[in-house]
């Protein structure tokens, strides 16, 4: 792993928004250590090529640091034909290639630009990396006038540049919000990555989870029996905390609801506390539900590779709901998972819904989730907000009094869905101390954790921490002003990426899932007196620390 030792102040001082003197087409690529994520293991690509022909190619040992990337000999044709095909399949791509006026409104909206000053991280220039090739290959003016119109020939260095910069975009869509034509760099990044995949250019941090998810049902490759073991450990912990042994149905048929959440929460601290939170919530309300090992992944790294791959992975949700006879799906806290569910799922896979599926209705309150009537999938924050509104949860807010919370809107639920007030409502109802970060950094204008879209890998830590500056600085602001010590979020990737981010930019702030705080305040029927939170830290000590 690349060493990263810059202090925050050194990193801040190194940021310069003045572009270099060389024009961008002649600025060479920098493939030094830490500037790129490692490529996929060949066996993962071989497996996926078998499972989904046409999307991936060229499995081999290679490194972006090498001069020779071992590209297929006809890679230029592959990119050209692939580009053409996508221009014909997506109006978005064609319009976005055509209409940009380079007004620059997006330039300083990207967290990677704010943290690095690298002009190729301005969304407009990131798109120009691709648009320049579009002009040369697909427009008359570009073919004739060439560089004068901003066109350039596709060369190996251009392809390498694509790899550098389309893997420095987290598809967070913040630029798209500010663009007067709604040009969405996420859409362009997706297309560029699809084209790179056709030449065998990829990163392992995405491809291994995709391969795992296809085979084992989740990104982490947790096999079903191991999944059950982990679940049992969690139930043990819950018993230790609450004195109550609860039940967590797994792969069981005949339940009303199937619950699907990202597997990151099964595996890693602090996600596991959020997962425990779900289990406790379901026990408290007596929800008739099951978990599944086959569909044990809410997230969808397929989204970061190829539209077909995304569809294939997502299809498991309906397939498993049908097999188990569930009427509707409850979805856990996850960012890009909800982009997929809200904007792609029914379009891709809606026809797979079995006849037993129906518009979600809360069995506890009778509330009809009309806004999910087509996809039949409800966000847990919506579900819990409804329970709270109807007074179905017995909450002791004071257990969270040691928490001074703020809320991080994850990019995808914010700008690809609009889930903004639901989690805040839940948070304010389980927690007495809550402050929002400054308004240009939250809600639809939220800043990315800089690890989205499969970039939450440690080998590019400097890139991540630079990209994390806007979020980290906003967090520091509320930490200094209000003494915020906890940032809640509704995303499993956030729960992994925000920890190094906070440690670096706002040390002392811990990261938590929303339902960890819910469960901490939640009084289970028949539980014993609680002396510790879900992390098994004693309340007494926590409160004492806060008093200091």
């Amino acid at each position: 792993m690349a060493k990263f030792s810059k202090k925050p102040i050194e990193l801040l001082q190194s940021i310069d928004y003045t572009p270099p003197r060389t024009d961008w087409m002649s600025t060479p690529n920098d493939f030094s250590d830490g500037r790129y994520a490692y490529p996929a293991k060949p066996e993962k690509i071989e497996y996926l090529m078998k499972e989904l022909p046409g999307a991936f190619a060229n499995p081999r040992e290679w490194s972006p640091g090498d001069v020779d990337w071992k590209l297929p000999p006809n890679w230029k044709d592959i990119v050209h034909e692939g580009f053409k095909e996508r221009l014909n399949k997506y109006r978005s791509l064609k319009v976005f290639m055509d209409v940009c006026v380079r007004c620059g409104a997006c330039a300083d909206k990207c967290h990677f630009f704010i943290g690095s000053g690298d002009p190729k991280n301005m969304p407009v220039l990131r798109a120009e990396l691709m648009r320049s090739v579009y002009r040369k290959d697909f427009t008359l003016a570009g073919k004739i006038l060439g560089k004068l119109t901003g066109a350039r020939v596709m060369e190996e260095d251009v392809l390498k540049e694509w790899f550098l910069y389309f893997y420095q975009c987290t598809e967070c869509r913040r630029c798209s919000l500010f663009c007067p034509y709604g040009i969405d760099t996420a859409e362009i990044t997706m297309m560029a990555r699809e084209l790179l995949h056709l030449c065998g250019i990829n990163i392992n941090w995405i491809m291994e989870p995709v391969a795992n998810c296809n085979r084992t049902g989740n990104h982490l490759g947790i096999q079903p029996h191991a999944f059950k073991d982990i679940l049992d450990f969690m139930l043990d912990d819950i018993e230790a905390i609450t004195g109550k042994r609860i039940n967590a149905p797994l792969n069981e048929k005949g339940h009303e609801v199937i619950f699907i959440t990202p597997s990151g929460d099964v595996f890693a601290d602090p996600g596991i506390y959020t997962f425990m939170g779900y289990l406790m919530l379901f026990d408290a309300i007596g929800l008739d539900y099951t978990l599944s090992t086959y569909a044990s992944e809410g997230g969808n790294f397929g989204l970061f590779t190829n539209a077909d791959m995304m569809k294939k992975l997502n299809a498991k949700m309906y397939a498993e709901a049908n097999r188990l006879g569930a009427k509707w799906i409850l979805g856990g806290e996850c960012g890009h998972m909800w982009r997929v569910i809200n904007q792609y799922m029914d379009t891709m896979n809606g026809y797979l819904q079995g006849p037993q599926m129906s518009t979600p209705v809360s069995p506890i309150t009778g509330t009809v989730f009309g806004n999910a009537k087509q996809t039949k999938m409800v966000h847990i924050a919506e579900f819990t907000a409804d329970l709270i509104k109807h007074g179905k949860l017995n909450l002791d807010k004071s257990r969270n009094d040691y928490v001074k919370a703020t809320f991080h809107d994850s990019c995808n639920p914010a700008r690809g869905m609009g889930l903004l007030d639901e989690p805040r409502y839940v948070l304010k109802n389980v927690c007495n101390h809550f402050w929002d970060m400054p308004e240009n950094t939250i809600r639809e204008q939220t800043f990315c954790c800089a690890g989205g879209s499969g970039l939450n890998t440690d080998e590019i830590m400097e890139i991540r921490l630079r990209g994390g500056l806007p979020r980290g600085n906003a967090l520091k602001y509320v930490q200094d002003k209000h003494g915020v010590n906890t940032m809640a979020c509704v995303c499993a990737i956030d729960r992994a990426t925000l920890i190094p981010l906070a440690d670096y930019w706002a040390p002392g702030v811990r990261i938590t899932g929303l339902h960890e705080l819910v469960a901490n305040a939640l009084i289970l029927p028949g539980e014993g007196e609680r002396t510790m939170n879900l992390r098994q830290e004693e309340f007494e000590e926590l409160n004492a620390q806060e008093e200091e």
Partner: protein, 344 residues
């Protein structure tokens, strides 16, 4: 450099009609042939471009949501209907705000990095919005106002427009506000491209050229009206007869008019093949013109490949049957020998 190329190019475009009409007396060519061809190219090019966009499907509904979604419980949460619409009419409002008020540009901020105090701040930056609005609306008013020179009988609303635009009664001929504002807008848009290093870095000839071209059009128009006082009666004669397909080139029209006309023709030629097509494109942007409603209503993707199926549960269970059985997980099919074992 890109700016300089563009400026030189626009100068060359000014010289062409000056020589062509002034020296070579090609009045018919510059007065009739060029503008009619330009209009035809503009119309055909525009239609082709739109057709090119229209024939491409929109596989997914991908609006960028700029506010609270449609809630399941309207008493609990309030939808931001115009920034995150979920129905057709709401989307129409969003589009109107976008097209008429430049809603997204109105959000603009400028990042300020204060290293000493360790603060990254976001200042409101509505200048771009303001000058973009000034430029576009002035352009629109000017085009509409020009109709008095295109229409044999001028309808009342256009007379009002002419009257309103000159209502300040400054100077003779009365100064049109739109003439001043379009130049102010254009100079700001040009200025920021030259002054802001970030914007200068991304600016291409494709960006400077239309700016200089439109500045050239505006200046030649201003020169004709306020300085040369060209013979508008003769010009109207030529223009209206052109629209009636009766081609006339009256004598006595100042050369500045031919410059103006040639620059406008260049703009028409250039328009459909350039970024100026954002005029049509803004209506077709899938992140703006679609409701955020795929959780509520089905959206059809015409190329959705139904042959792509998930890795099946049967294959999954085949892969992990024995350990699943060990762990006591429910199975569709027990491992071989398991039933006998259980009986025994």
């Amino acid at each position: 450099m890109n700016a300089l190329y563009s400026l030189v190019f626009v100068f060359a475009l000014v010289l062409i009609p000056l020589i062509g009409v002034g020296a070579a007396k090609l009045n018919v060519f510059f007065g009739i042939c060029i503008p009619s061809t330009a209009l035809l190219v503009f119309l055909a090019g525009f239609v082709c471009k739109i057709y090119g966009w229209a024939k491409r499907p929109v596989p997914f509904r991908i609006p960028t949501t700029g506010g609270q979604q449609e809630p399941y419980d309207t008493t609990l949460f309030t939808q931001n209907k115009w920034d995150n619409p979920s129905t057709g009419p709401q989307t129409v409002v969003r589009m109107l705000l976008e097209v008429l008020c430049f809603r997204s540009l109105f959000r603009n901020t400028a990042v300020k990095l204060d290293v000493k105090n360790n603060v990254v701040a976001y200042a409101s930056a509505k200048w771009l919005w303001l000058f973009a609005i000034l430029f576009h609306y002035s352009f629109f008013i000017i085009v509409a106002r020009h109709m008095r020179l295109f229409l044999a009988k001028v309808p009342m609303p256009l007379e009002w427009l002419e009257f309103g635009d000159g209502i300040m009664q400054i100077g003779i001929p009365r100064m049109y506000m739109s003439d001043v504002l379009i130049l102010v807008g254009l100079l700001f848009l040009l200025g920021r491209r030259l002054v802001d290093p970030k914007i200068r870095y991304i600016s291409l000839v494709n960006d400077y050229f239309p700016l200089f071209l439109i500045i050239g059009i505006a200046l030649s128009g201003v020169y004709m009206r306020y300085f040369a006082k060209v013979d508008v009666i003769a010009i109207k004669d030529m223009v209206v007869s052109l629209t009636q397909l009766k081609f006339k080139v009256p004598a006595g029209i100042d050369n500045s008019f031919y410059v103006h006309l040639f620059l406008v023709s260049t703009l028409l030629f250039y328009f459909p093949f350039s970024k100026l097509m954002h005029l049509g494109g803004v209506f077709l942007s899938p992140t703006r013109n679609l409701p955020n409603d795929t959780r509520i209503r089905h959206h059809e993707n015409p190329w959705n490949d139904k042959s792509i199926m998930p890795h099946s549960y049967a294959a999954y269970e085949d892969d992990f049957r024995a350990p699943m059985f060990e762990a006591g997980l429910p199975l569709e099919k027990l491992p071989e020998g398991a039933e006998e074992e259980a009986k025994a």
